[in-house]
């Protein structure tokens, strides 16, 4: 029995170590050919393992049996990341941005993935958060942590202005409402002098918590972490909390209700006849999603100390939404992975910046053709770990059949 556990642990540590080493070297190596070669090597290795049934099965089993151990290992690696990357603060900053994207994507996943409200105006709610935090910090000098919360709440409040048009419209027309909103908001920001006009808001004080300014370096055990690590850890804390909340909601009657009113998978009429107040639940999903998006926006403005209208466009909304489509609609791990990729890849491919949108478009179209359910398809809801006693044969991936 003990032997078994030891073998599992070793397997998990090996897999995680190899994949994280690959991840970090992909981040740090600047030679694109080398990066490409590494990715291909990783891909070939994964393919090789997936072909050997015995090895694959034992790895999958190990991860399934020891998911608490895996979780702890992942946690240590994620916490330790700034220590490994302390020589390149730029990548810590990018990873922090990736966490903000993950928060946004989780919010859109509640709206679009779970409840089926297509929000193509996410950048506007991001902007509401960012501008609220920026304005309060500049005009009133209110503390940044308070501004984070305020930005998130303001984004919920502004979102409620759209309740009536969203409830009157259905499906694609709802998407039009949100597009109209982000365009109008962009124009407002560009023209309203009291919001800084086309210049935006400059000189927002950087984040600080209880007197600890985030522009300071962190010193731990004689190691110096660059100031960016401050942002990384706070974003990680917030992102972790929000992801956990998202996961718990998904695994509850709330997530189920959202799926039931989702016109894409379930349907509203039948949900109504099952006793669900569909309009109310759609707006709850919309509002909670906006909280996530607004919080990320507010954090962004306290991180970059600068926010301007070009950050808040329809195009940006499309990128946010595509994280959900790419990762897997209603799949929380998938959405997180896709958001991470969508931030890291364009940074890595800076040399081909003008082609990035083209690459991205092709990738998205291929994805929709070849893997419609996303990078990590949504699973059947098992609700709690206690439910794991269900025999393996009864658990199958969501909708893994031909007739849909």
């Amino acid at each position: 029995m003990n032997d078994h556990a030891l073998k599992d642990w070793l397997l998990i540590i090996c897999c995680l170590a190899v994949s994280w080493a690959l991840f970090i070297s992909v981040l740090l190596i600047t030679n694109l050919f080398l990066v490409f070669a590494l990715i291909v090597l990783g891909g070939v290795a994964m393919y090789g393992i997936s072909r050997r049934e015995g090895v694959k099965a034992s790895i999958v089993q190990a991860f399934k049996r020891r998911n608490r151990f895996t979780f702890i290992c992942m946690f240590i690696i994620i916490i330790g990341l700034p220590f490994i990357l302390r020589g390149s603060p730029y990548w810590i900053l990018i990873l922090t941005l990736a966490i903000l994207w993950i928060i946004v994507a989780l919010g859109i996943n509640i709206q679009f993935g779970s409840a089926g409200i297509i929000n193509l105006g996410a950048a506007a709610f991001y902007g509401v958060g960012a501008y609220t935090a920026g304005m309060f910090a500049i005009k009133l000098g209110s503390p940044p942590l308070f501004n984070l919360l305020l930005g998130a709440v303001m984004s919920m409040v502004v979102g409620s202005l759209l309740f009536i048009p969203l409830l009157k419209a259905r499906g694609h027309y709802q998407a039009l409402v949100t597009i109209a909103f982000v365009m109008a908001f962009h124009n407002l920001l560009n023209n309203a002098a009291w919001l800084g006009g086309a210049q935006g808001i400059v000189g927002i004080p950087p984040m600080s918590v209880a007197g600890w300014s985030f522009v300071q370096e962190i010193k731990v055990w004689g190691l110096k972490l660059p100031s960016q690590a401050n942002f990384y850890y706070l974003a990680l804390l917030l992102g972790g909390l929000l992801a956990a909340a998202s996961w718990r909601l998904w695994n509850s009657w709330v997530g189920l209700t959202w799926n039931a009113i989702n016109e894409g998978t379930g349907d509203e009429l039948s949900a109504k006849c099952m006793g669900v107040a569909t309009g109310k639940w759609a707006m709850i999903a919309f509002t909670i999603g906006n909280f996530y998006i607004g919080l990320a926006g507010a954090f962004y403005s306290h991180m970059t100390t600068y926010v301007s209208p070009p950050d808040i466009t329809f195009y940006q909304s499309l990128l946010f939404l595509s994280a959900v489509i790419l990762g897997g609609v209603d799949s929380i791990p998938g959405v997180c992975l896709a958001a991470l990729l969508l931030v890291i890849l364009p940074e890595k491919l800076r040399a081909f910046q003008q082609y990035w949108v083209m690459f991205f478009g092709i990738a998205l179209v291929l994805m929709l053709i070849l893997r419609r359910k996303g990078l990590i398809p949504a699973m059947i809801r098992i609700y709690t770990r206690g439910m794991r006693e269900i025999p393996e044969s009864l658990r199958a991936p969501k909708g893994s059949n031909k007739n849909d």
Binding site: W253, M274, V276
Partner: protein, 263 residues
């Protein structure tokens, strides 16, 4: 259950009317259902049977008339409130959520009875787990009344179970919160005669066991099914009630024969 016997009336509608443009889809229908009664609703295509269901389940707003459940006027209430008052329905075309599990689909029928929402699912997880456990027990009990095999398939996506099991699941879902009145809209549509006979047997069996007081309004084209399980039959044509009574009496009705056979 003959008409003149003094049984408690559960459902009643008066002069129910619905116009689509110039067309009177349902035209002044009066109808009553007693407790524990199975009422068959028949009529040719386009007679207004499904529209009638859509009216009394709150899907369409009513133009004229009103309807009552246990004497309470439900006219004008939205669909989800009518369901909470005790009228539950199925649809002619399956409206299950294909990529959710069998349990999840069944749970959507129980949502109104659940008490663990945001606070319990985010913070007090153990309370949610308690409720989940109870819900699964209830679901297993419901499923096993129809088909014991379905219990083992609880965590399979609905897209992977058979057509007849989907019908069963849909009826289970409508029954999950013990409604007073169940509206079944052509439950045997798209099934073979054997399958539909099996489904009707299931239905009769669970009524005898668990749901003695349950009243049902059944829309069905298969006259053998109607003859078998209904207590009383109402016939509609062009939105109007043209006949009412026992199956034998109604089937002798000239107007109905004409409507069906087109003489």
């Amino acid at each position: 259950m003959p008409d003149n016997e003094p049984t408690k009336q559960l459902f009643r509608c008066e002069k129910l009317t619905k116009n689509f443009g110039g067309l009177k889809a349902v035209d002044g229908v009066d109808l009553g259902v007693s407790e524990g009664e199975i009422l068959g609703l028949i009529g040719p295509n386009g007679a207004g049977k499904t529209t009638f269901f859509n009216l009394i389940s709150g899907v369409y707003p009513i133009d004229e008339g009103s309807f009552f459940l246990r004497g309470e006027n439900l006219m004008g209430l939205p669909a989800h409130k009518i369901k909470k008052k005790g009228i539950s329905r199925t649809f002619q075309q399956s409206r299950l959520i294909l990529n959710l599990s069998v349990y999840d689909n069944l749970f959507t029928g129980m949502l109104e009875s659940f008490r663990s929402w945001f606070r319990d699912s985010l913070i007090f997880r153990s309370r949610f787990k308690e409720e989940l456990k109870r819900a699964i027990e209830k679901a297993n009990q419901l499923l096993s009344q129809f088909n014991a095999e379905l219990v083992g398939k609880g965590f399979l996506p609905v897209s992977e179970i058979s057509q007849i099991d989907r019908r069963r699941l849909e009826i289970c879902r409508a029954l999950a919160t013990k409604p007073a009145l169940l509206l079944l809209d052509e439950p045997s549509a798209g099934m073979s005669p054997e399958e539909s006979a099996e489904l009707m047997l299931d239905l009769q069996r669970i009524r005898e066991k668990e749901y003695r007081e349950l009243s049902i309004i059944l829309v069905e084209h298969d006259m053998a099914v109607i003859e078998d399980i209904t207590d009383r039959v109402v016939a509609l044509n062009y939105g109007k009630k043209i006949a009412e009574g026992t199956f034998e009496a109604v089937s002798r009705n000239e107007e109905l024969r004409e409507a069906y056979l087109g003489r």
